[in-house]
């Protein structure tokens, strides 16, 4: 019992501070926290959808929540149900088996909502293109706000993609409001 806490306190914080790393990331991260604060009340709930990926992207996404990248400090957290989510993080080429599920997930998410397609496969189907199991890229089934390329993309790229998507939100919000009035 004591040993685990000794270990915890000896290790200390491992989250990379905002000032560390290359300048671009720092800027980016600052920008994200600014953006999310303004647009989503500094809270962004993400539902991850694996539409048929090789799980390479998932490993990077998991790193996002780990102690080093710690997305939670920006108010970005992952949720269990699309009903709770603001943003869908879709990975992989869309397989026939996941096609309906992906659309259903999109439908189940309350407005205003965003979609970020992660990885090369999500955009071009990658090495899986032409496979009998693959139905197409993500944007063929649901409207995608931002593509994050890379195979797999790094956590920083993911953060950048999320930021870009959040940047598109004001327009969407207004459109939704107009739709609601009509």
């Amino acid at each position: 019992m004591a040993s685990i806490f000794k270990k915890i306190f000896k290790t200390g914080l491992v989250t990379e501070p905002l000032t560390a790393g290359d300048a671009e990331t720092v800027e980016l991260v600052h920008a994200i926290s600014e953006q999310t604060r303004r647009l989503l009340g500094r809270s962004l709930a993400i539902r991850e959808v694996d539409a048929g990926s090789c799980n390479g992207c998932e490993i990077e996404i998991t790193a996002l929540t780990g102690p080093v990248y710690d997305s939670e400090r920006f108010g970005i957290h992952f949720v269990a149900s699309p009903r709770h989510a603001d943003l869908l993080l879709v990975t992989g080429p869309v397989t026939h088996n996941m096609q309906v599920a992906l659309v259903k997930t999109y439908e189940a998410t309350p407005d205003p909502k965003l979609v970020v397609a992660v990885g090369d496969c999500a955009k071009t189907c990658g090495v899986f293109r032409g496979s009998y199991a693959v139905a197409g890229s993500v944007d063929q089934f649901i409207p995608v706000d931002v593509f994050v390329t890379g195979c797999p993309p790094e956590p920083n790229d993911l953060l950048r993609g999320i930021l870009a998507a959040v940047g598109r939100l004001p327009g969407k919000k207004q459109a939704a409001a107009r739709g609601g009035q009509a």
């Binding site: 149900s81 992906l102 997930t105």
Partner: protein, 685 residues
Amino acid sequence: MSAVLFPLMLAGYAFGALAGLLGGRGSVGRWLVALGAGLGAGAGLGLGAGVIAGGGALVWSSPDLFGFAGGLQLRLDTLGAAFLVLIGVGAIPAAIYGAGYSEAYEDGRTALRRHPRQGAEASGFMLNLFLLSMSLVAMADNIFTFLFMWEAMSLSSYFLVITESSELGTLQAGQWYLGMAHLGFVCVAAGFMLFAGGDWAASFDSLRAGAAALPAALRSIIFLLALAGFGSKAGIVPLHLWLPMAHPVAPSHVSALMSGVLIKLGLYGLLRVSLDLLGGGPAWWGGLVLGLGAVSAVLGILYALMENDLKRLLAYSSVENMGIILMALGAGLIFHSYGLMALAGLSFVAGLYHTLNHAAFKGLLFLGAGAVLHATHTRNMELLGGLIKRMPWTAFFFLVGAAAISALPPLNGFVSEWLVFQALLGGFQIPSSEMALIMPLAVGMLALTSGLAAACFVKAFGITFLAIPRSVPAEQAHEATPAMRAGMGLLALLCLGLGVLPFAVVPLLGRVLAGIGGLPADPVVLTFNLSLQMPAGFGQMSPSLMAVGLVGLLALIPVVLRMLRVNRRLRLSDTWGCGRTGQTPRMEYTATAFAEPLRRVFTQLYRPTKELTIDFHPESKYFVQSIEYRSQITPWFEKVLYRPLLEGIRFAARMVRRLQSGSLHLYLLYISLTLVLLLIVARWL
């Protein structure tokens, strides 16, 4: 006042009974029966209320009728009046409901099936007879009258139980009921005979006067006989076996009456004998009642949880609620024996309050279950679901009943359970440490019971009424008729009223037992701020203010949210199921699944039997064609107590059967031998 009401009550029931015999079929006949029953019950209610409010006891006797046994003697004191009120409370809504429900029996149909079968014409007659005999049990003032009415009550309810006699299992359930009722009757009669020294005609007054002179051991034997006899009516574990059998097969308004009122008369008998006639006894009497009550409460609700038959579930839950009432009464007897009169009064008031409340919410639930049965022709919860959209009123009323029985504020079950808790918490004032140490255990059992009851009624309501229908009949269900809705509505209002206005009810209940067995009057006083406060010094609570607060908050929250310009847009969509293509009822949680965690928690008690049959493909055992899983729970008391008993009876019956040869000469021989034997006995022995 009582001079008018008493004949009116008799006349009402008589009218209803006649209407049942002569009125024939059709809505006029049904409504005339209901009118008679309602009138009789209403008059009884007025009569009881008048006596409790201070109108003085009603005395009526007819020495000529049944003169050989001392004649009919009636006397209505406050205790009897309380149960007369209870009969009225249960019977009026049931009668109204029955007028609509009995339509199902037109052309000889039964509620369970759509197809015409052999019907039951006499049920209107029996219903009125049943109500009348119950009323007169509460008024009986000598042994003969009491036992006569008791038997009439059992028999008339037996005939009501077997109304749907064409259904499988109904007659068997009826036989169980009749058997248990007579077992109880024998005990009660034996108790009275010992009490009165064999005098059938002894009046209760003479019993009361002679009670003190009886030896202590005899008093205890009388008490135990009364406990067994009345306990079999009240459904104390292990004598409760008939409840889950007879309640489900009876017509639903009769189930409501049996569960709400009939079994309560067992409590009446117990109170009458132990507290009033015997004048209380040693502490272990109360301890025994408390222990049996606790066991009944916990086992009752545990078996209710495992039931998938809606009405059986309700029947087991009646066992539970009788357990709670008995806990209160047992605590009262304990306090009484130690002279802690204020606490004893509180306990009895709590018990009586729960009695009244149980009549209201269990009546309501049985009526609701009846409406479901009426609409879907099934009691199996696994085939129901989605009824909240098809029967919104019934669903709402059932929800009120379910919340009330789960003791949720601000409904009535909460108030009476709170009072029972308060009474038990007072247990530390008992001087004997052994008895005092029972109290925390009782509190724990009561709390477990109420937690499990909440789980049980989430299951009962949730599986039956929510989500999507699990069968075609449930999908095609229709709302109950207006008469049925009116009956349920009345009881739902009563649940709310008894919950919100306890300060009006409790002092009246306090008066019920005033002066009986040396209890003081008005044990629970009404304080200024509408709250209940005990002179015995424990808690304080105001359900009415709580109700006002809850309603206020519920109204305020949407207003505040609107003022804060919260987004109010809503979109309908498919149920989220992790992206699967469609939703079918088979994906829903079932009643069995809902109860599964608790079944595993209490598996040492349930000891379920499992049976797994896997049908493999003939070519390879890696391909399964079908899997069949059966699991069954047989209550242990059936296994341990009743099975050996039944086997013993069967064995005895086989022995006796040897006497039956079919030869006329042999029978004549028996008769002659008996005659000779009797003559010898009469002459020389």
